[in-house]
């Protein structure tokens, strides 16, 4: 390999999915022999960029330049030939095979497996010495711990001659100790002249291991920095977005009735890992409590324990002074709705609606047992049709046809229908996840206004959002979460992107 300044470079790489621009003329420059970080929120376009670098997707415009040659990779093997090796977030290993067989898979180079194995053993021994690996080549992969499996992936890429290693969220599955070992290996790779592209949304990892960092937001590169010249605070601010001047049209509320109260609530995620750690907070009538945090820091679990979708491991959740969730108490979402709690689900298409059902059928999801919609178990289809029509009109959902499948509506119109459904019963408490995710700009303002109206009408609202601007615009107080813990709660008057960014990065604590 000659020695160009950039190991990999993209020129105005653009990728569209329908109307959504996932990557908007991205110009990435990765200096050879460095560790280069890419940070960005979920949905910022990191994965799309990686998939184009590795030939999974073909760009609509632009090209990838490796070693001074422009390429458009038709498939991953084309990318591999130019020396790009990818370690996926979910490993691509054949679990019942040995480490050795996994490494040579697809690169056997000989019809007789024994010959291939013998050749590979020699080559691997050299590689292992060079990079300081010590992998049990004859052990079956499924018996290995996650961190070791990841090393197998890295060695596999090196064995294929990778000069540029792309690590996609490599620490997502690792323990802190395994992460440290990975960082050491990454430094070793750099010392041996390899280039590493390190993609993550964890800022402290960027600080710990990279030389340069590129920040992505909404499909674009928004900043490039030398790691030594930036800080987690600045990066967090860059990740979540520009400041917008906000005007406060709030009425102060004298009375402070506690509507929802969490007391030292802990819960595990689906993998059985503690994802929510002793969180305590109150939501009062007439206030919007915003919850901020980098995605995956316990916000989802927080909403789930409140809305009856996840078992609490410790602590308790009280709604109207009734314990609705504790290690011994679980309340069905239907009961919670009848008590006056509404839930706008964070993942609309997976949870909030049934994608293949009509808008009309979705208009009663969660409320199907209410007497308006069924009588002695028989559905009142006429009443349902009328209700759906009313929802469509009150929220101006378009196209005005409730018989269409919900999936044929835009995200914004889906969300309008969901909000209409959830506020129809005048709930006293609303739990709202990502109120404007996937919602077109036009509908965003309307949804924000509606949240403010509900708050002014004395309702208690808890809003989880990945969008800091949104939280600053609609919240009275903002709670910040990091790694399952509540870092602190700040009044919106005292909050700005910088403080919140630092808190989201877990750097700064503030007493509530």
């Amino acid at each position: 390999m000659s020695n160009p300044e950039f190991a990999i470079e993209t020129r105005a790489l653009t990728k569209r999915f329908g109307d959504v621009v996932a990557n908007d003329s991205v110009c990435l420059k990765v200096r050879a022999g460095t560790v280069h970080g890419i940070v960005g929120e979920n949905g910022a376009g990191k994965s799309t960029l990686l998939k184009m670098l590795f030939g999974f997707y073909q760009p609509d415009e632009g090209e990838v330049v490796v070693d001074r040659t422009a390429h458009t990779f038709a498939d991953p093997s084309a990318a591999m030939k130019t020396g790009i090796g990818m370690v996926h977030q979910h490993f691509m290993l054949v679990e019942p095979f040995t480490v050795l067989d996994n490494i040579i898979l697809g690169a056997e180079g000989s019809a007789k497996l024994e010959d291939a194995r013998a050749t590979a053993r020699g080559a691997l021994a050299a590689l292992e010495r060079q990079f300081g690996f010590n992998l049990p080549l004859d052990t079956v992969v499924e018996e290995l711990p996650v961190g070791v499996k990841q090393r197998v992936e890295i060695l596999k890429a090196l064995y294929r001659g990778a000069e540029i290693l792309v690590l996609d969220e490599p620490t997502a599955v690792l323990t802190p100790q395994e992460s440290e070992q990975l960082f050491a290996l990454v430094r070793q790779l750099r010392a041996e002249g390899k280039t590493v592209l390190f993609v993550t949304h964890k800022l402290h990892e960027i600080m710990a291991v990279t030389d340069d960092v590129t920040v992505m937001r909404a499909g674009k590169i928004v900043a490039e920095r030398k790691t030594a010249e930036t800080s987690t605070g600045e990066l967090a601010e860059l990740m979540v977005g520009a400041k917008v001047a906000r005007e406060k049209t709030r009425e102060a509320h004298g009375e402070r009735v506690i509507r929802l109260s969490l007391k030292n609530v802990s819960a595990n995620n689906d993998q059985g890992v503690r994802a929510l750690k002793a969180v305590s907070l109150d939501v009062h009538d007439g206030e919007v409590l915003g919850v901020a945090g980098v995605a995956g820091n316990g916000q989802t679990e927080l909403m789930e324990v409140i809305t009856g979708l996840r078992q609490v491991a410790a602590g308790s959740v009280e709604f109207d002074n009734v314990v609705i969730a504790s290690p011994d108490v679980a309340t069905n979402p239907i009961t919670l709705r009848r008590m006056g709690m509404a839930h706008v689900a964070e993942d609309r298409l997976k949870t909030g609606v049934v994608e293949s059902f009509s808008a009309e059928d979705n208009a009663m999801l969660g409320y199907q047992r209410e007497p308006d919609f069924s009588h002695r178990g028989i559905l009142k289809l006429k009443a349902l049709a009328e209700t759906a029509k009313r929802y469509f009109e009150s929220q101006d959902v378009r196209p005005r046809n409730p018989k269409l499948a919900i999936s044929s509506f835009s995200g914004g119109n889906q969300q309008k229908l969901v909000i209409a459904r959830e506020i129809a019963r005048d709930p006293q408490l609303m739990i709202i996840g990502q109120p404007t995710r996937g919602v077109d700009i036009g509908a965003v303002t309307k949804i924000h206004d509606q949240i403010t109206e509900l708050r002014n009408a004395g309702k208690a609202l808890l809003v989880v959002s990945a969008d800091l601007d949104e939280l600053l615009a609609i919240s009275d107080r903002i709670a910040v979460m990091c790694e399952g813990e509540l870092v602190g709660i700040v009044a919106v008057e005292d909050a700005d992107e910088k403080t919140l960014g630092l808190m989201m990065a877990g750097e700064k604590r503030r007493a509530s």
Partner: protein, 368 residues
């Protein structure tokens, strides 16, 4: 992108099944031609044999009855997101329940015996489906695997009962004693006779009407009741089901029990309607073909009835063809049936993409 778009109702529900069927017949025709026979003659004999005279229609609908029950069984589980491969075993065990019910009450009160038989068939079928359902809901054992295994267990159980406790005293065959007198379901031709319409003798009996009633009932349950709504929510999205406060594991168990009950009811037609005794392997694969019937019928009650009649016609007409063309053996009939199952069931999406592509090209051209 065109393939992802939805086809209009008629294309999805009439054109595609028709194309699948046509493909099956074309391939069958080639094989028949290769065997040295005239495929058109075979087809005409098949249609004649299935619908050409009173007795033929009776037989066709008699076979169709079995397929309606097993097709509905597969379908209701499918709507709940479950693939019940165990219709065959559930029908066998349902047959045992039917026999026990008939023998318990039939000797003294035949009518009560019939009712007890019907309840027994549904109940035992449901119980046989309950076990795999429970294993999936509570223990995570995959229902496809367990229901297949339960078919074998059911078969062995049936064989044991028929050479053991239920064996006809002094009999040489693996079968039970004849059901008590007066417990047979009334034949349709007898029913017509009472109304003054003469119709040739055939095995079609009132369980055909019960099957139609079940089809209507399933449609009502799924699309007109709250329970059916919740069942469909579970089938489409476990996340949305939890959001809506519906227990996925509870619904899994209930849907499978309804499915098993429907499969169990197949014995009404075969045992209570025609054989009047329990015999080994009376299910003859109807439980498996029910899968093809459900998919060809697009999992809708009316579609399942039509698909069941098609398969009934293939069984009946095929038998006639085998009888009339010496070269055309029973095996060739099975081959034709197999091809229909292959094209209409397993490969039902074969023509979907090209057709939707064509359709949207045409629609775009018209718009342009």
């Amino acid at each position: 992108m065109a393939a992802a778009r939805k086809l209009p109702f008629w294309a999805d529900n009439i054109l595609l099944p028709a194309l699948n069927l046509l493909a099956a017949f074309v391939v069958s025709g080639i094989v028949i031609w290769a065997l040295g026979d005239n495929p058109f003659q075979a087809l005409s004999l098949l249609v004649q044999g299935a619908f050409g005279y009173q007795e033929a229609i009776g037989y066709t609908l008699y076979y169709a009855t079995n397929f309606i029950f097993t097709g509905l069984a597969v379908s209701i589980a499918y709507h709940a997101g479950l693939f019940n491969i165990g219709g065959e075993g559930q029908a066998m065990v349902g047959g045992v329940g039917l026999t026990l019910g008939v023998f318990a009450f039939g000797p003294h009160a035949p009518l009560l015996g019939v009712f007890a038989g019907i309840v027994g068939a549904a109940l035992f079928g449901a119980i046989w489906a309950f076990i795999p359902a429970w294993l999936q809901a509570r223990r995570g054992a995959h229902i496809v695997i367990t229901t297949i295994m339960f078919n074998f267990i059911a078969s062995a159980l049936l064989a044991y009962l028929l050479v053991g406790p239920l064996h006809r005293p002094g009999g040489q065959m693996p079968e039970s004693a004849d059901f008590p007198a007066g417990t047979a379901l009334i034949h349709i031709h007898d029913l017509l006779g009472m109304m003054g319409i003469s119709y040739d003798n055939n095995p079609m009996n009132i369980s055909f009407l019960i099957a139609l009633l079940c089809a209507w009932g399933m449609g009502f349950l799924l699309w007109r009741t709250r329970f059916g709504y919740e069942l469909r929510v579970v089938g489409k999205s476990a996340g949305a089901a939890r959001f809506a406060g519906v227990s996925v594991s509870r619904m899994t168990i209930i849907a499978m029990m309804i499915s098993g009950a429907l499969a169990g009811l197949m014995g009404l037609n075969e045992l209570l309607g025609e054989q009047h005794r329990l015999l080994a392997n009376f299910t003859l694969g109807y439980g498996f073909v029910g899968i093809a019937v459900a998919f060809m019928g697009r999992n809708k009650p009316l579609g399942i009835i039509l698909a069941a009649i098609l398969f009934g016609a293939l069984y009946q007409g095929g038998t006639e063809v085998a009888f009339d063309i010496p070269n055309f053996s029973r095996d060739a009939v099975v081959m034709v049936q197999g091809l229909v199952i292959l094209f209409a069931g397993a490969m039902e999406h074969l023509f979907r993409d090209p057709i939707s592509l064509l359709f949207w090209r045409f629609a775009e051209r018209k718009a342009a």
